[in-house]
């Protein structure tokens, strides 16, 4: 199936391997994005609203969450992969394979997304919060009916950046047998000096990244209205 490629870049792997890897990558990115976005939004919002002089100022919670995020962001991904194996096993039942990789990926991307979201939400003009407050909006409504929609353009770009980062991280999840395009690129292309595989896998990654970024840019422009 890949025979149509010119000799120099014809990969040694079969198109089955590639298709499977593609599927694995999409599977890992999709699920871990879902969970890490949830985690990231929750943590990011907490980081913003509990800071001094914000709507739910709470020194204790802020000073609890902030360093936890820092700790998670400190640990090299490969170590994180292993360090949380008990947690992975608890959630997934096993610590190996594509599904198991989702847990460390979430631990990796969640805190990162939290920081990006924090940054976006902090940019909202205080006047918007005042308007919300004056309407008797609950804290919950202030966050989800005012802050989030107003920051949406920036949030979408942040999530795009995070998704691309996540895609990059899946390459490392090969350490626990997760598979995926990045892993094929490394083990066939890089470790086995197979330029054809390197080429085709990196091409696939580029297409995915380009696609994600394009979608992100368009969506963000649509809501940003600038």
């Amino acid at each position: 199936m890949l025979d149509w490629l010119p000799e120099a870049i014809r990969p040694e792997i079969t198109s089955d391997i590639l298709t499977q890897a593609l599927f694995e990558t999409i599977y890992m990115v999709a699920w871990s994005l879902l969970f890490s976005a949830l985690l990231g939004v929750v943590l990011g919002v907490i980081l913003v609203v509990t800071r001094p002089r914000h709507i739910m100022e709470n020194r204790f919670i802020y000073n609890l969450i902030n360093p936890v995020i820092n700790v998670l962001r400190s640990i090299p991904f490969i170590i994180l992969l292993v360090a949380i194996i008990p947690i992975t096993r608890f959630f997934v039942g096993t610590a190996y394979g594509t599904t198991a990789a989702i847990v460390p990926l979430v631990f990796y991307a969640g805190p990162y997304i939290a920081r990006l979201i924090e940054n976006s939400l902090l940019e909202i003009e205080p006047g918007i919060i005042e308007a919300a407050d004056s309407m008797g909006a609950s804290k919950w409504q202030i966050i989800f009916k005012f802050l989030v929609p107003e920051a949406m353009g920036s949030l979408i770009l942040s999530m795009t950046t995070a998704t691309i980062g996540l895609l990059g991280a899946t390459a490392m999840a090969g350490a626990i047998g997760a598979g995926g395009i990045g892993e094929v690129a490394i083990s066939y292309g890089y470790n086995r000096f197979d330029d054809g595989t390197m080429f085709i896998t990196v091409l696939l990654l580029i297409i995915m990244v380009q696609g994600l970024q394009t979608i992100g840019n368009i969506a963000s422009k649509k809501v940003r209205r600038r």
């Binding site: 292993v82 610590a95 083990s187 890089y190």
Partner: protein, 268 residues
């Protein structure tokens, strides 16, 4: 599917109609032998699922917790050390191949030519690194501590008369940055893949009978006599696979089928 036997109860009662399912953990990607075994075994009623790891610690952990049934990726010395460190109840059930290492250089023709203060890269992965250092010692470039073992590292070099500058790097990178250094210790697999010939290009090569570096198939100790697994070892050690390994790996891997006693007799 649900009509497969569990490995533990299968005994010899498997057949193509009622197959037994076995998960094999390997690392890296050059597994034509496993693809072949997979085909042959399937005809006998053994369904192989190949799980690839890109890391050397996880396949043993996975074996110990039952995520996989056997693995085949490591040398016996690494294996012994690992199970001791982690207190795992695993056993080697057969030998596979030996992948000798070599010292390569773009600049020098022989070991003697390597100058004082030369830059040499070694593998950053732990057991390979110990092996690299033993190779350098064997070549007379350095001296090692007496208790140097399979997981010893740079800190157990006794003497470095040439004041060599040893840098740890990822093994697959070694061929790519060879031109920047005076010499590089490279695993045969990577050397062959990178287009180097272990026999022609290496300026020094590991002894072909280096027992501690013979690769093995490992299983949980309680499954060491499982007829299914033993059948897989038999298949691996068949004539057919031996030929395939020689052809496919072009000298990067040498089929080395020895008895378990012999395997465990290396000096520890």
């Amino acid at each position: 599917g649900n009509d497969t036997n569990s490995l533990a109860d299968a005994g010899e009662s498997y057949s193509p109609e009622n197959p037994v399912h076995v998960k094999v953990g390997i690392t890296g990607t050059d597994s034509p032998e496993w693809d072949e075994i997979s085909e042959i075994a399937a005809e006998e009623g053994i369904e192989l699922e190949i799980v690839r790891f890109s890391d050397y610690t996880q396949p043993n952990q996975a074996l110990a917790d039952g995520s996989i049934d056997i693995n085949a990726f490591q040398t016996v010395s690494f294996f012994d050390n690992f199970k001791e460190e982690h207190n795992l109840d695993l056993t080697a059930i057969g030998s596979t191949v030996l992948a000798p290492m070599g010292l390569y250089s773009d600049k020098y023709e022989s070991v003697e030519d390597i100058p004082d203060g030369a830059d040499i890269t070694i593998d950053k992965e732990v057991t390979n690194q110990a092996r690299n250092l033993m190779l350098l010692a064997e070549a007379g470039l350095i001296e090692l501590e007496d208790d140097f073992g399979v997981t010893s590292g740079l800190n157990q070099i006794k003497a470095n008369p040439k004041n060599l500058n040893l840098t740890e790097i990822a093994p697959a990178t070694a061929p790519r940055i060879m031109q920047d250094v005076d010499a590089a210790v490279i695993n045969n697999g990577f050397a062959v893949d990178a287009g180097l010939s272990p026999t022609d290009d290496a300026i020094y090569r590991e002894d072909e009978t280096a027992t501690p570096y013979i690769n093995i198939i490992a299983a949980q100790t309680e499954e060491q006599d499982n007829p299914v697994l033993l059948r897989l070892v038999e298949l691996y050690q068949s004539e057919e696979i031996e030929q395939l390994i020689i052809e496919e790996h072009k000298g990067a891997r040498i089929p080395t089928f020895i008895s378990l006693e012999e395997l465990n007799s290396y000096p520890k």
